[in-house]
């Protein structure tokens, strides 16, 4: 008896579950191989195999960076900052009403208005700001304005989604207390809902601003102003030392904005 008990070894899964796991992995690997075959149909392997040489070649062209180029980058830098900041502000103006319409507890009509607000949020979120910029450059012409609107349109979904989730999570007893004083609907929102979501709102805004700085550095690639415009010019003229300077500047900007937003969010929460 004791002998038989000691020879049964503990196993994590039963045999059938083990087999199911293996089958699952097999399907995943097969699917991966299939996708890989389809994807690499048009790949020219000669270009892939000489990539290390290409990398070394570009690397040697990129150093030393042309530091004298920095003065030309001050105006684009200012534009980039404006695209991100003004775009975020414009997005907030449009996102706040959408968020209140989308939240279950503040929406005037859960059946009709809420799905519409959710549709706005989803379509804004699923299109990247570069694609928005591509559209807007074609419509309102190249320049900073297209960048601002692109950033704003992309940010609406993000801000509204996080904000409506925050609104849905508020403490209902405060709303009840303010309602009990005889407050009107708008007064309830003003005195019971807004104070509860204000810290979350500030946090979301700063977080989105940080992401927008990151995105606005490359919007110029499609003609929407800012640092990306200079990047595009430098690459088209094969001025790799300038490209290095721009890359470094973008890196520093991104790190700085991340630091600022972390500090501000830390101060708020």
């Amino acid at each position: 008896m004791t002998d038989a008990a000691s020879t049964t070894v503990w196993r994590k899964r039963t045999t059938s579950r083990e087999l199911a796991m293996w089958a699952g992995w097999l399907v995943l690997v097969a699917f991966f191989v299939f996708c890989w075959q389809v994807m690499t149909q048009t790949t020219i392997w000669a270009f892939v195999t000489d990539a290390p040489q290409q990398a070394a070649d570009i690397g040697s062209r990129m150093v030393p960076p042309r530091w004298e180029y920095i003065p030309h980058l001050i105006k684009p830098m200012w534009d980039t900052l404006n695209i991100a900041t003004l775009g975020t502000l414009l997005a907030i103006v449009m996102a706040v009403p959408v968020a209140f319409l989308a939240a279950r507890n503040t929406s005037p009509s859960v059946r009709f208005v809420r799905p519409l607000a959710l549709l706005i949020i989803v379509s804004s979120r699923s299109i990247n700001s570069l694609i928005w910029a591509l559209l807007l450059v074609a419509i309102i012409g190249p320049g900073v304005l297209a960048g601002i609107v692109a950033i704003a349109l992309r940010s609406i979904g993000f801000v509204a989604k996080l904000l409506y989730e925050a609104i849905e999570e508020i403490d209902a007893s405060q709303v009840e207390a303010v309602t009990a004083t005889g407050a009107s609907r708008s007064q309830v929102v003003d005195y019971a809902v807004v104070p509860q979501i204000l810290p979350a709102f500030a946090g979301i805004t700063v977080f989105r601003w940080d992401i927008n700085i990151r995105e606005s550095t490359v919007l110029g690639l499609v003609g929407a102003g800012g640092l990306g415009l200079r990047l595009q010019e430098s690459m088209n003229t094969l001025a790799w030392p300038q490209v290095t300077v721009i890359f470094l500047l973008i890196l520093v900007t991104v790190l700085l904005s991340e630091w600022v937003s972390a500090r501000v969010r830390h101060a708020i929460i």
Binding site: F31, I127, G141, L145, A202
Partner: protein
């Protein structure tokens, strides 16, 4: 009696809500600074209103394109672009996850020795600090145009995202379970396999699916700089002023993103 009356009169008759920023000096400096910035920023934005006015016509055409999207005339190109985007998404997510698991384990301070930790954190920081589009530019120059460069870009971006979150998750595990496994005399591999892996697996699956979703979205963008996928098709459609085809592509992207988001949310709920 008079004392009571005095205390009663001390109650405030009106109430105003406390300001969001408590310190008065800081508040007014911030408001003033914001105002000055806004004025200078808005005045420095150059807008060619004539061009905007002319463009409204195109905007109208674009909205018309959205109402009557044209799926048929560029259908062949759209299929190829979608095929590239979808396969690129799958392969890059698989490869990215496969690479980021060891890096994520290495970047968790509670199970990795300091030198390994430092190297893995450096890799994560490097991958996170460059945006996809810039990495894509470099990879297109190195590996030539097409989805292969896109695949490399997305794999690289996946590493930074997934390894960081995985490492944070491993650092947050319930130590007592790992401790229990360690007490049985298990080696490092066994601790990872039996003490840590079961705890982080649901989240790892959830994050991988979330990243699959992100990778598809990104794959529609990096085509603009030549890294293949539906973005390239979209860019071509825009360059040819074929707004109805562009609208069709955008609608397809939105539908696929929504489907992916819904599915990944469903699977994540099922796993957890």
């Amino acid at each position: 009696m008079t004392a009571v009356a005095a205390t009663e009169t001390r109650f405030a008759q009106t109430w105003s809500r406390p300001p969001f920023i408590k310190r008065r000096g800081l508040r007014w400096t911030l408001y003033g600074g914001a105002l000055v910035y806004l004025i200078t920023a808005i005045s420095s934005v150059e807008v060619n209103w004539v061009r905007v006015w002319e463009g409204l016509d195109r905007g109208l055409r674009f909205i018309k394109g959205f109402l009557v999207p044209d799926f048929t005339s560029r259908w062949g190109d759209i299929v190829i672009g979608m095929q590239e985007s979808l396969t690129m998404t799958v392969t890059s997510t698989v490869v990215g996850v496969a690479i980021s698991v060891p890096i994520g384990i290495g970047a968790a301070r509670n199970i990795a020795p300091l030198p390994v930790y430092a190297v893995c954190r450096a890799i994560v920081a490097l991958s996170r600090s460059f945006q996809e589009i810039i990495v894509a530019i470099l990879f297109v120059v190195m590996f030539g145009f097409g989805p292969f460069a896109g695949f490399l870009t997305l794999s690289f971006a996946t590493i930074g995202f997934l390894a960081k979150l995985l490492a944070e998750d491993i650092e947050d595990i319930d130590e007592s379970q790992a401790e229990a496994i360690r007490a049985t005399g298990a080696g490092w591999w066994q601790i990872v396999n039996y003490g840590i892996q079961p705890q982080v697996m649901p989240r790892l699956i959830g994050l991988s699916l979330y990243r699959l979703d992100i990778n598809f979205r990104e794959s529609s963008v990096i085509g603009i700089v030549g890294a293949g996928g539906i973005g390239a098709t979209l860019n071509t459609a825009m360059d040819r002023y074929e707004y109805d085809s562009a609208a069709a592509i955008l609608m397809l992207i939105i539908v696929i993103v929504m489907a992916a988001e819904y599915l990944s949310g469903f699977v994540r709920k099922w796993v957890q």
